[in-house]
Symmetry: C2
């Protein structure tokens, strides 16, 4: 009997799935989980995801860590850094601790944790093969949990879920229309994910291009540039590949 695979397209739907008997993959392609993979791949010691800006500031002070995060696509007031993977090159982030808060991704991670997820990892195109390899090794039920945008389903997180389904489906039982839709969408978009986002007028594509972040979007849609495996342990994301 193969383990089950589900895709949850919005945090508002997470309660429909058996979180506490699954590995939950948190997906926030633009840009939280892409940045998490990148910072860990570049040698960050650990990343502490927090829900609120005040918590981010407080914890950052307590442990003398870097504070980072965004609200509505821009650096949140009172924090030092933003949510762009390009802000975390090796020479800056190596051996450092990052306290991170984002609009959607970090919130979903805590939601999955409070619902008793068996295990939590984060996924993005920059670390897609690391994620798929891990899920195939574990051979355990999986929920691909899209962070979406303020609970509204978005294209980019769905595309990533679809890409994962496409890579690992033979090893899982998939009785889940969302997974099927995600894979079909991914197969349509796959020749050029960036062009698909643009052509499909994706809301977050607009939000970020307004801030001239095309470079971030292209990076966040590229496979395996940051092959880390962010695993959530004791309140911190650490790299499972060392």
């Amino acid at each position: 009997m193969k383990p089950s695979l589900y895709t949850c397209l919005s945090p508002a739907l997470l309660n429909l799935y058996d979180v506490n008997s699954s590995i939950v993959v948190i997906i926030d392609v633009l840009r939280a989980t892409s940045t998490i993979a990148t910072a860990l791949h570049n040698g960050a010691k650990e990343i502490i995801p927090v829900d609120s800006v005040p918590d981010c500031i407080r914890i950052g002070k307590e442990i003398s860590a870097i504070t980072a995060g965004e609200r509505d696509g821009q650096v949140a007031e009172g924090l030092q850094y933003g949510n762009s993977p390009f802000e975390y090159p090796t020479h800056f982030i190596k051996n450092k601790t990052l306290v991170l808060t984002t609009t959607n991704g970090t919130k979903l991670l805590h939601m999955a944790y409070s619902k008793g997820a068996k295990e939590i990892i984060t996924g993005s195109f920059p670390n897609i093969t690391a994620v798929c390899t891990y899920l195939l090794q574990k051979n355990f039920s999986v929920i691909l949990a899209c962070a979406a945008w303020k609970d509204k389903v978005n294209i980019e997180d769905t595309l990533f879920a679809g890409a994962v389904v496409n890579q690992i489906k033979d090893n899982f039982t998939i009785a889940c229309d969302s997974s099927q839709m995600a894979e079909s969408l991914y197969l349509t978009a796959q020749p050029d994910l960036y062009a698909f986002m643009k052509e499909r007028n994706a809301t977050h594509y607009h939000r970020l291009t307004k801030y001239h972040l095309e470079k971030d979007i292209r990076y966040c849609l590229t496979n395996d540039t940051a092959p880390a495996l962010p695993v959530f342990i004791d309140g911190k994301l650490v790299n499972g590949i060392t």
Copy 2:
């Protein structure tokens, strides 16, 4: 300025949309809204959608109407008829009142009503052109509301939303990833919706084929066989096309 168009993929997400300033199109392709269109097109006087089986039985007795409905794809205990469009030919349903309860569609309709929807109509492939023509005439904001399956997003309702987006998009402002995804999925599936449902292993396709209802599925995926326009007025669905 064109009016807005949104697609809501699950009843659990309806609170994210401005229901009270929109025409809400209730979509429950397999089979509630296909059956509603069919019964009205075949001359039913009106259809009273109700939430529960006991309410259905009670109201049916009070007004001497036909009671119908399903739970989990089968005729609910205590009701006379089921949720198949083939149960409502003209010689049976003409001038009669139907009291109907279904797993997802009738619940979503009442949810949209209680949230103050400006107007409520129901949509399905058998009446797709009637729905699109009406929405184009009204030139008002629209929410395509998918009934889904117990709040889990499903393929067939998303496909119908995508088909509507495809027909009317030039007249609306669409800042909605769900609408874009739905249209893309529809364009992929469009050469043969039935084959797509089968190939994609749609959960409701399985549920209904288990009861040998392939004929229902094929009918419910066919355009314009029942060109009625079910409009919800004073607690009843009546045919807006007379």
